[in-house]
Assembly symmetry: C2
Homo-oligomer: 341 residues x 2
DNA sequence: TTTTTGTCTTTTATCGCTATATTACACAGC
DNA sequence: GCTGTGTAATATAGCGATAAAAGACAAAAA
């Protein structure tokens, strides 16, 4: 079957059948009123009968109004696309929306970060007009390197203090971290654990917000409460278990993703620790499913629609040769009755 | 900014700059060894310096080896892409994988089912070589109607007994329902509620499996245990609440999606009903997040990778003018320590 | 009758790229 | 000096669609 696609019906074939010229067919199919009603109807019927469809590539080529934009989603496990975090997929929705609004095409691709220089490999192998990268992760240097040669990039993530050649879009992570921590402090919590791998730019900023809130409340930072769990499935769970086993005194957790928060809650409840009575938990992302969690998760909302829109805008600007700025999205704390205390 | 994309550098421009012909540039950029090493290097450097990129449309057009495939995901709420069920998004991943493997492009689109004839509208408005529909839902008749004129369709869903003009891919829903129910019966449960809207083809089949399992165990069907919750966010929650309020005697729930199962568990636990001690719950889909749920969810797994592959295969066959068959995927019951009893 | 107008249709040129065929040139061997 | 061989670059010919310009024809106006 591979490649054996049989020669498709062309517009010229259809024209021959209808006894008119190619352009007349083209116009008839486009519904132009420059062709006689009957002729139009006849051609349309003929096209339908013969299951004719215009060659998308030829059309796009001629009209040259359609860019191909790739979205790279790093997948955690090779061969299995059980995406590490639903947030990324929800963001993808926002991007799809924005891309379609602009009339462009969205090429979706999955990649395996572990395969060495994955982004570059992808760009070389495929033909795209621009790339949106979801998940800056710890790849800052690599992305910078790619941006030297390929500037049609737009990245979801955080602005890095150091030299940065590519534009990012992301929530105001510092403020988000601050709001989450503030909320916990307002509930009377004092021993707030931080669950997240601060090496990642976004997480580092959320951590900064967390520290600011504590500082303002005159609470000294406590190293035993810092839990650098990586973004892996079990990390949130294991880190929390460890926290308990080590006998650390804590009455709240700020987890840097909803997934982490859920895993943490699972670990807590397994040990009979009540949420939020004994330990309050706040997450990040406000993933769709969080409202259904048990207990419903208090979380910092990242706006996917707006995020997608800005990512696409930045990319189009970059394609035009501009150097778009890093953008910050509003953050909103979604308080749900229980988990957050 | 819109449309003001400045004239891009062409290959001919680059050729002029390098003092060679267009074809030489083309070959040099393709890394062909038909051009002198030095020439090749020089051209490549020049291209990089001037940030030249080949016109994707022209290239695709010439090579004509690239189809544009659209995936339609019905979104529940207009303007908000908080997708009703994470399973759909995970399936999207499987599709992306398969499409890329075949070297085609995946055009992602979101639609609003409520806008009348959404699928047809989409097909008419966009130019695609084929459409994958995620979510057959209650649209069987409408899809059939579209398939009359447009046969490049591939649908995730179930085979409908009645006249069906389009191919589907889906898990063996009857078997899945059977396995789930069987599992609950083996745990000694006898009063198993069914949570799902049986008007939908897939759900109807799962229900059939449920009934078969009960029949084999000599348990009479009980109408009060049938809960036709629709696929909406709160449906699982509300239906379960009602079940409790009505004082129905039940010791297990088979929910037709993990989302429903989670919502049900939330409702149960709010009333102090323990899961699985008092009521065991089994879901469907085995969504990534289910493992993290509290308690971890026992669920019927639908294989997204395989599903995506088959959806794409069917679509390519349909584009070639064949009439591909409806396919059934294996189902596997994933038993997690707690929820399922 | 001639001109004008209007409606429908065809001709022509083109989008930017790449594959194929062809040419240009250098150097070996006889 | 001529042919044969190999390498490197060029010229040419589309891919299939569409838009713009040009043409054909009939009916209305002068």
């Amino acid at each position: 079957m591979k490649g054996s696609r049989k020669r498709a019906l062309l517009m010229s074939d259809l024209a021959k059948m209808a006894g008119v010229s190619k352009s007349t067919v083209s116009r008839a199919l486009a519904g132009s009123d420059l062709v006689n009603k009957e002729t139009r109807a006849h051609i349309q019927k003929l096209a339908a009968e013969h299951n004719y469809r215009v060659n998308t590539n030829a059309r796009n080529f001629f009209l040259q109004n359609c860019l191909t934009i790739a979205v790279l989603l790093p997948s955690a496990n090779r061969g299995d696309w059980r995406i590490s975090d639903p947030f990324f997929l929800e963001l993808l929705g926002g991007i799809a929306e924005a891309v379609n609004e602009k009339g462009h095409q969205l090429l979706l691709a999955k990649t395996h970060p572990q395969t060495g220089n994955w982004i570059k490999e992808f760009i070389d192998a495929h033909t795209t007009d621009g790339v949106i990268l979801i998940g800056q992760g710890a790849q800052h240097d690599k992305i910078n390197e790619i941006a030297e040669h390929f500037n049609a990039l737009s990245v979801w993530g955080a602005k890095v203090d150091a030299y940065q050649r590519y534009p990012t879009v992301g929530s105001d992570n510092e403020l988000g971290g601050y709001k989450a921590t503030r909320h916990l402090l307002e509930q009377g919590r004092r021993r707030i654990a931080f669950l997240g791998y601060t090496t990642l730019p976004e997480i580092s900023l959320r951590h900064a917000g967390y520290r600011r809130a504590l500082r303002e409340a005159d609470i000294a930072a406590d190293d035993s409460l810092q839990r650098p769990a990586r973004h892996s499935k079990s990390a949130g769970y294991l880190s929390t278990q460890k926290l308990i086993e080590e006998g650390v005194d804590f009455d709240a957790i700020f987890a840097v993703s909803d997934l982490f928060a859920m895993a943490a809650i699972t670990a807590l409840q397994e040990r009979g620790i009540r949420v939020p009575e004994d330990v309050a938990v706040v997450g990040y992302d406000d993933v769709a499913i969080s409202a259904f969690y048990n207990p419903p998760l208090t979380s910092v909302r990242q706006d996917r629609s707006e995020g997608g829109r800005l990512l696409v805008e930045n990319l189009l600007a970059a394609i035009d040769g501009e150097a778009p700025p890093c953008r910050l999205l509003d953050t909103e704390l979604i308080v749900r009755k229980s988990s957050g205390g």
